[in-house]
Point group: C4
Chain length 122, copies 4
C-alpha cells in the first residue's frame, strides 16, 4: 500500500460568486493517488448556519491526480452554494495526498491562494 | 471525541488599514468543529511593542465552521488595531482545525494568502 | 547526515500557458540541501488522463538551494505540458526540504501562491 | 518552557528587486515567542551559486512577535541580495513559531504568498 492519509481537512472553503477577466473564479481540491488501484474520495461540507452536506463522491484512478472543482461536486442533487463560507473534510478509501487552491477573479485581475490540506493521522 | 487540536499558532497577523475596489481588506480565522458539541475558541494576540491582548472568545457550534473576521474580535472593549503586525494563538475548548487567510485590497486589485495554522500537539 | 526528508508531494501542479506584463508565468520547486554532499532530486509527474512522466533528475550541490523551474525539467526528451493539471512526487538521494511556488501572470497583474510540499516520513 | 521549535526551514526566499504602486516589495519572517524570556533568532541563508551567508541575528522579546524584513538583516556588513533565489534556515535560542510571507509589487498591483516555515523536530 502506498503512503498517504485517508482523511484531510480544509477549513477555509469559499466559491467566489463573481468573475471578471479571462479566468473564472473557482476552487480546486487536488488529489494525488499513488496507489496502483482506484480510490473513491468523499467530500463532506460543513457550513456556518445550516446542516452539513455530506457524501459527494469522486473516483480517482490509480497513479493519477484529479483536480476537483468544488462547484462540480454534488450529492442527492445538492451542490455547494456560491458566496457562502464553508469547510471541507476529504475522506478517501485509500491513502492519498490533498492540496487546496482558490483562484479569485472577482476584481479585474486574478488572486491565488493555496494550502496543503491538514492530514488527520490514522 | 473528534480528532483535531486544541491549540493553533498564526505568526503573521496583519489587518490592512486600506481597501479599494469591490472587496474590503480583511483576515479570517477559519475554524472547523467536527465534534457534535459546541466549542469555545479563544484568540490571544501578541504584538511587537506592547502587552498581549488576551481572551477574545467566540463559540463555534457542533459540526459547523466559523470564518471569524479578526476585526470583529474583542475583549474588554479592546480590538486588534489595523495596520499593526501581530501574531495569534488560537485555543479551543475542544479539538478543532484552523486555517488563516488574508485578503488585501490596498491597491486596486485584491491579493490573497492562506496558510494552515500551526498545530501545537498536546 | 543533515535532517530533512527524502520524499515530498505536491498535488497541485499547473504551468499557466499564458503570460502578460513583465513577469512570465512559471512554477518553481525550491529545494534546500543542508548536507555537505550533492544530492540528486528526481521529479515524477502524475496526470489526470495519461501515464506518469517519471525520472526527471536534477543535482543540487551541498549547502546550496536550487529553485527548479518545472518547465525546464525533462526525461527522455519529454517535458511537462503547459495548461494541464498534474501532480508531483519529489524524491531525493539525500534529505532535503521542498517548497512549491507558482507565479501566474495570465492576466495583466501577477498572482502568487506557495505551499510547503508535503513530507512523506520515512 | 513554552512549546515551539528551535529550527525552521524556508526553501523559497526571494526579494523582488522592483516595486510599483503604494506598497514596497518585501519578505517577512514572522516569529512568535510565547516564552516569558527573550530569544535570539539566527537566520542562515543558502544560495544557488555561492557560499552561504550565516549568522544574521535578531532578538525577539518574551511574549512578543517580530515580523523581520529580510532586507534588514545583516552579518559582518553583508546583506541578502535582491533579485537572487535563496533559502533560509531560522534557528532560535528558545522554542518559537515561524511563518514566511512575501509581498510582490513588481507589477502595478500587489501579489501575496505565505507559508508556515517547515519545523525541524528536535
Amino acid at each position: 500500500m502506498s503512503k498517504g492519509e485517508l482523511q484531510w481537512i480544509i477549513p477555509d472553503g469559499y466559491i467566489p460568486p463573481d468573475s471578471s477577466g479571462q479566468l473564472e473564479s473557482h476552487e480546486s481540491i487536488c488529489v494525488l493517488n499513488l496507489n496502483p488501484e482506484e480510490v473513491v474520495v468523499t467530500v463532506n461540507v460543513f457550513f456556518e448556519d445550516r446542516e452539513p452536506l455530506l457524501g459527494m463522491k469522486t473516483p480517482v484512478s490509480g497513479r493519477r491526480t484529479k483536480h476537483i472543482r468544488t462547484a462540480s461536486l454534488q450529492a442527492e442533487g445538492r451542490q455547494i452554494p456560491k458566496g457562502v463560507p464553508y469547510a471541507m473534510e476529504v475522506a478517501s478509501s485509500g491513502p492519498v495526498y490533498v492540496q487546496y487552491s482558490r483562484l479569485d477573479s472577482t476584481q479585474a485581475e486574478n488572486a491565488l491562494m493555496s494550502v496543503m490540506a491538514y492530514p488527520v493521522k490514522a
